[in-house]
């Protein structure tokens, strides 16, 4: 909060109010962030100089690494940086203690460790990834310089750790004290935006029943941000004042949104092929109460009273939809398409009602601390990482290390250790970017620019103008601010990272000024060669193409269905959904999908989620249904679903459709159970089998055969 509301009111009366407001909103945060970075970096420099730490550059570098505009990100990144540094230092002590006499074992163990950290970094999300990166390259900066004098490893280990801690303390304290910006606030505003989005999309019945239109932004928006917001929620848990209950609400909201989005898209994909006929009119008639209820939706900022009124309307709509369904049901009893679509509409409404209730509870909790809804349990966001991608990353990490080690041994160049460090950093850090090779190019450009800056500082500014810490701070401040500004630019993250990395390794910030031109030139050259080696690794070990990605994704998705057929029954729907979404998200950043194939993969995902969920529901219902109502046709239908997705072919598809028809026939012709619970399970079986049949029958795209969308 920069200004109180009273001040804001005063400012609004001024003639240049609009400009000022824009400046406050867009430019001021950047300026504040720059000031924060400068203060934190100089604080770290000052403390390390006062404590006589041998390499104050590490402390400043740490500040730049962990510094982020929002405090939650700083805490979370710092936490993992400390853990990663501890692991890396521990491993350095082990490796130097055991293998410093034996180059072969030393290199082999080193390569294993780098491979392991790269793989693990790839497997984990958010800043956990960063912890593994640190664990990998800390080994380079601790173990490699002392290879000739192994006994010094303890000194280096202790001083590296102290420098990192000093940097982290400075960054976290400054970012939490000076104009803190809470991550939770941005979470709140994006959650609110998403909520409005949901309501307005669902209120538009024409969009629901129209054929799929990629240009309609509301439709394509209604699936994004699930993985991203989950990451924000995790990082915000490190902030002060975010209590557990609030975070629990957010994680529930995220899951409900995910379910809503799946139901919505499934409904759309089912109704899309329907012609404008009587059936369509019947479905629109069924959907109409939802539109009526949503007409009362609050505009702008939501307050609890309006929202609870709307929830009341939604409750009435639920009853109305149920009545309409029962009156129409006899007419369309045998129509699978109607049954599935009606089921999805009812499910959509239930989920919407639930989502609104959770949102209301969050609002009440934030306003008065009294949540209106007891959230049952903690819902887990499961992730899935493809093992092929992980193995590829590990191979690349170890490979680049072995190659640069050979370079070191062959050339016997003392500065080649810098080459190794740089190549490892590139291999570890840029691996998860969408296009690593462009990242390496940016990194290289940043490094070259940094060398120019460092040269000016080392040979002109520092010897000419600095006499003590104060003057050093004053001459450094502009460059530190410049780096801070660069890191806020969305287009320059890797460029600025390269800049920071090189500037901090070449700038003469030692406790005593010592720099020679030859050393400067040789070490810069070694580092640049390292960047090039790292980039070459991305060029060589990268056989990932669009069609390969599609094959991989379709294989994994089909496996999900197969495991739903015969795996454990206690899989939650939320686990199924979050795993699938996380998987597709990862492949669409890693796997170079074009627009068309991304769309295709998303449709596959929907079909998989819907079929997987239906299979699990069928299996659960069958388990609780009395034996008298069982039929061999149900298990046969499930079996043929499994066969079809294990090895898809046209014959299996026809068998599957036949068996589904047979199962549905048995269900519809058979006697319905009298008892209420049994009857409900019996009806569930009809609905779910009909749904699977509709999806299999109608879907033109499936995670099955190789599609030609990559061309």
């Amino acid at each position: 909060m920069l200004l109180t509301s009273q001040n804001m009111n005063f400012i609004r009366t001024l003639p240049w109010a609009h400009t000022f407001h824009e400046w406050i909103r867009i430019d001021a945060p950047v300026l504040i962030y720059m000031v924060k970075v400068i203060i934190a970096a100089l604080l770290a420099l000052w403390i390390s100089m006062k404590l006589n730490l041998p390499d104050p550059r590490t402390a400043i570098f740490t500040v730049f690494i962990v510094m982020q505009p929002q405090s939650g990100l700083v805490f979370s990144k710092s936490y993992y940086r400390v853990l990663g540094t501890i692991a890396g230092i521990g491993m350095s002590l082990v490796i130097i203690g055991m293998f410093s006499q034996d180059p072969i074992w030393f290199i082999a163990f080193f390569a294993l460790w780098i491979g392991f950290t790269t793989a693990a970094g790839f497997k984990y999300r958010n800043f956990q990834f960063y912890g593994f990166v640190l664990a990998g390259y800390t080994l380079c900066i601790v173990a490699l310089p002392v290879i000739e004098t192994p006994l010094e490893v303890f000194d280096i280990a202790v001083s590296r750790f102290s420098e990192v801690v000093v940097g982290i303390m400075s960054a976290t304290v400054i970012s939490d004290i000076i104009f803190p910006r809470r991550l939770l606030d941005s979470l709140i505003s994006s959650e609110q935006e998403r909520f409005h989005n949901v309501l307005s999309t669902l209120a538009d019945s024409r969009a629901v029943f129209a054929p799929f239109d990629e240009s309609n932004p509301a439709v394509s928006r209604f699936s994004s941000g699930v993985v991203g917001l989950n990451a924000v929620r995790i990082n915000s848990s490190f902030e002060s004042g975010s209590d557990q209950k609030e975070r629990q609400h957010y994680s529930h909201l995220n899951h409900e949104y995910m379910n809503l989005s799946t139901t919505y898209h499934s409904l759309k994909s089912i109704v899309a092929p329907i012609e404008k006929t009587e059936l369509m009119d019947a479905l629109e008639y069924l959907y109409a109460p939802i539109v009526t209820a949503l007409e009362t939706r609050p505009e702008g900022a939501v307050n609890p009273e309006d929202l609870s009124r709307m929830i009341g309307e939604l409750g009435k709509a639920k009853q109305e939809v149920q009545n309409r369904f029962e009156s129409e049901h006899s007419h369309y009893k045998e129509n699978d398409l109607y049954i599935s679509a009606a089921y999805l509409i009812i499910r959509l409404l239930n989920e919407l009602h639930n989502h609104c209730a959770t949102y209301l509870s969050l609002l009440k909790h934030r306003l008065s601390g009294a949540a209106s809804k007891e959230l049952s349990r903690y819902v887990r966001f499961s992730t899935h990482t493809d093992n092929v991608l992980v193995a590829l990353a590990a191979l690349r990490g170890s490979g680049v290390l072995l190659f640069t080690m050979m370079f070191w041994i062959w050339t016997a160049w003392p500065y080649a250790t810098l080459t190794i460090t740089m190549a490892v950093v590139i291999g570890l850090l840029l691996g998860t970017l969408p296009s690593p090779i462009d990242g390496v190019k940016d990194f290289f450009k940043g490094s070259v620019l940094a060398l120019v800056f460092a040269a000016v500082y080392d040979f002109y500014v520092i010897p000419a103008y600095t006499s003590d810490l104060l003057t050093l701070g004053i001459v450094l401040a502009p460059t530190l601010g410049f780096v801070g500004w660069m890191t806020t630019r969305p287009k320059l993250p890797i460029f600025s990272f390269g800049f920071v990395f090189m500037f901090m390794s070449q700038c003469a910030l030692d406790p005593y000024y010592k720099i020679e031109p030859t050393k400067f030139l040789e070490s810069s050259l070694a580092a640049l060669i390292g960047v090039i080696f790292g980039g070459m690794a991305y060029l060589l070990v990268n056989f990932w193409s669009c069609s390969l990605t599609q094959q991989r994704v379709s294989k994994i998705l089909r496996q999900q269905i197969v495991s739903a057929c015969d795996g454990a029954l206690n899989i939650e729907r939320s686990a199924l959904e979050s795993t699938g979404r996380d998987l597709v998200q990862q492949f669409s950043t890693q796997g170079r999908l074009n627009m068309r194939s991304s769309r295709l993969v998303f449709e596959w995902l929907l079909a998989t989620l819907e079929i997987g969920r239906a299979i699990l529901t069928i299996r659960r219902s069958l388990k609780r249904l009395q034996e008298d109502f069982h039929s061999i046709h149900f298990t046969m239908a499930l079996e043929s679903i499994k066969h079809f997705f294990e090895s898809p072919s046209q014959i299996y598809r026809e068998t599957l459709l036949e068996r589904l028809d047979a199962a549905l026939m048995v269900l519809r012709r058979g006697t319905f159970p009298e008892e209420k619970g049994q009857r409900r399970r019996y009806e569930t079986l009809i609905i779910e089998f009909a749904l699977i049949r509709t999806i299999v029958f109608n879907s033109t795209t499936f995670p099955l055969l190789k599609e030609e969308s990559c061309r």
Binding site: S71, D176, I177, P180, S240, G241, D243, Q244, K245, G369
Partner: protein
């Protein structure tokens, strides 16, 4: 309290374990205060947190350097 202590055969300044213990205690207190909703009544939670940590860390230090 002594200026240096020996832990597992390694001599280190007493400040170091005090720092670690203070950090752990601070994290626990912070969780409690966040879940209890105390931060809703504090003007500047970040400053408040830092101040509490400074108190936790410096009080034992005073006994060392008295």
């Amino acid at each position: 309290m002594p200026l240096d202590i020996t832990l597992f055969g390694i001599q280190m300044p007493t400040l170091l374990p005090i720092f670690v213990i203070a950090a752990v205690v601070q994290i626990l207190i912070d969780r409690l205060m966040a879940d209890g909703g105390l931060y809703n009544y504090v003007w500047h939670p970040g400053l408040f947190r830092t101040a509490i940590f400074v108190c936790l860390f410096t009080i034992p230090c005073l006994f060392i350097y008295r």
